[in-house]
Amino acid sequence: MIDRLAASLNFHQQALGLRQERQKVLASNIANADTPGYKARDMDFAGELQKAVKQGSSDGGLALSRSSARHIEGQGVPGASHELLYRVPDQPSLDGNTVDMDRERTQFADNSVRYQAALTILNSRIQGLKKAMQPE
């Protein structure tokens, strides 16, 4: 029963986590708007979300398989599996920086609104589940 509850929230939880990850990437782009040689990054949100939902239902962390007891065990970094892409610049500057401030600001605003939307949906879902658990 409890795992059903968790599964019903899984999609929105993954979406929220990814939105937050993207927020970080965009914040880094804005922070590095004047750094020579910095290349603006972003992610393919829909593709990453599909991947995360598929992975998140099993929630298995990456672990190094060992064929001998003397091998050093390793643990993959969770959450670092997002594939970051490079933005195609319209007009790159001479110092190699490809941050377009207008575009980054737009994407940042867009992302934060979508984050709030995901939050609202998750909230109403929790409210619905809570209501269903009430005796009356």
Binding site: I30, N32, F108, I126
Partner: protein, 138 residues
């Protein structure tokens, strides 16, 4: 917890931009300083930014900003013809700083705009975090 790293990223950018503003202020203030502690005329300074990865999460080149070093402007010094000046050479020229006031003003405006953008990022992030904290309530 990684939401806090946005604060670290924007915070590092804010301190880097304010350091840039500091250097600009020093350049503008010393635009006419013909002699410094070493007896030489003031040389304009510029900051060099570099990306700083946030702990181990900063793998794909994502991270904050830091000032790598403050370099001196290598452009030639301005020579002013002032034979009455005590520091004039035998031909009557005084070595003046190589500060470009127009360039420094542009630098200052650019730094302040970048600073504002980062403040906005921080504010938005703070609101989102506060909203996330009330998830499931009410």
């Amino acid at each position: 917890m990684s939401m806090f790293s946005i604060f670290a990223i924007s915070g590092s950018a804010m301190s880097a931009q304010s350091q840039r503003m500091n250097v600009t202020a020093s350049n503008l203030a010393n635009a006419d300083s013909v002699s410094g502690p070493d007896g030489e005329a003031y040389r304009a300074k510029q900051v060099m930014f570099e990306t700083r990865a946030q702990s181990r999460e900063g793998v794909g080149g994502v991270g904050g900003v830091g000032v790598r070093e403050v370099v001196e402007d290598p452009s030639p010094m301005r020579m002013a013809y002032r034979p009455e000046h005590p520091l004039a050479d035998e031909e009557g020229y005084v070595t003046m700083p190589n500060v470009d006031p127009v360039g420094e003003m542009v630098n200052m405006i650019s730094a302040s705009r970048s600073y504002q953008a980062n403040v906005e990022v921080m504010n938005t992030n703070k609101q989102l975090m506060l909203k996330t904290l009330t998830l499931g309530e009410g």
